[in-house]
């Protein structure tokens, strides 16, 4: 990764234009050519330095439900519960964390009502309580991550 890659990351976390030749517009702003920009983006995606390039959608405004949920699962039961929780297609990400609240997952559902229903279904299958922690407010920035 060189200075140009860093400049791409630092300058392109938002504001990508909607126009016929957007990569050409951005390349000119960065002082490189379009083919170089496309190739570098491709490489950074392949190396997973970028996890994505494109529009970031707002799940709730698309009409769906989104929430962060936590469970207190003891080590002895962790594998079983992991399997049961992961089997739900509504579970998008699931992380083990070093805390008594040991399992943290994101639910994404096609309707807001499905969040609460899915939590109840997970509780029924696993016999553990699901702590549903939807965001009450988001303090979003995200445009200033510098490398």
């Amino acid at each position: 990764m060189d200075d140009i890659d860093r400049s791409i990351i630092n300058n392109l976390q938002g504001g990508f234009p909607i126009c016929e030749h957007p990569y050409a517009v951005v390349a000119e702003q960065l002082g490189i050519d379009e083919a170089d920009l496309l190739q570098r983006l491709q490489q950074m995606l392949e190396k997973k330095q970028l996890s994505r390039f494109g529009p970031m959608y707002h799940a709730e405004r698309l009409g769906g439900g989104l929430s962060l949920c936590a469970m207190r699962v003891p080590e002895a039961d962790f594998e079983r519960v992991t399997e049961q929780v992961n089997a739900f297609p509504e579970v998008a990400h699931n992380y083990a964390r070093d805390h008594e609240f040991s399992m943290w997952f994101v639910l994404g559902t096609e309707t807001p009502e499905r969040i609460e229903e899915t939590c109840q279904e997970i509780e029924k299958v696993t016999s553990y309580r699901v702590y549903n922690m939807p965001k009450k407010q988001e303090f979003f920035v995200g445009l200033k991550f510098e490398v």
Partner: protein, 166 residues
């Protein structure tokens, strides 16, 4: 329903499905999407512009991967601050350059007392600790308790299904 929930029609939804994993890396990406969906680039661009203006698209650009970019000390920090000040502190913490997301979330007393979450990123655990100390200092006496939860394992990572049928 809030007024920021723009009504999406079938083609809008197909644009979401076609682009949620990424924009094509070709010189005319919107044209590329349009051809896939059987419409014109002009139509795709107008619809995406409308979704951007209404906040359905948060932004268009690169999503950096903190971990592979060398930020190996990442922690979910959780804070117990007075409810009446959570917005003020959320905004302050959310604007720090080492915090990628901050959220106000519900407490579950007595087991879970924390109402403010912040994802903190550092080059390593030491640097992370300094950054968390900086947040604690910013909160002062209003930091009634806090913890850092490190992820030990990714159990699942499939991504969101944003619209029905996607």
């Amino acid at each position: 329903m809030s007024d920021d929930t723009l009504k999406l029609d079938e083609l809008d939804r197909r644009i979401v499905v076609a682009t949620q994993a990424g924009l094509p890396l070709v010189v005319e990406p919107y044209q590329h999407v349009a051809e896939e969906l059987g419409t014109t680039a002009e139509d795709v661009m107008q619809r995406m512009q409308r979704m951007l203006e209404s906040g359905i698209i948060r932004r268009i650009g690169a999503v950096p991967n903190h971990y592979t970019l060398g930020f190996r000390g990442n922690g979910m920090t959780v804070w117990d601050v007075p409810d009446e000040k959570v917005v003020e502190y959320g905004e302050k913490i959310g604007s720090l350059d080492f915090v990628s997301h901050a959220y106000h979330r519900p407490r579950f007393l007595p087991e879970w007392r924390y109402n403010l979450f912040a994802m903190v990123h550092g080059a390593n655990r030491d640097e992370l600790k300094h950054k968390i100390d900086a947040i604690a200092e910013l909160l002062g006496a209003d930091n009634r308790a806090h913890e850092v939860l490190f992820s030990t394992r990714i159990l699942k990572k499939t991504g969101l299904r944003l619209v029905p049928g996607s």
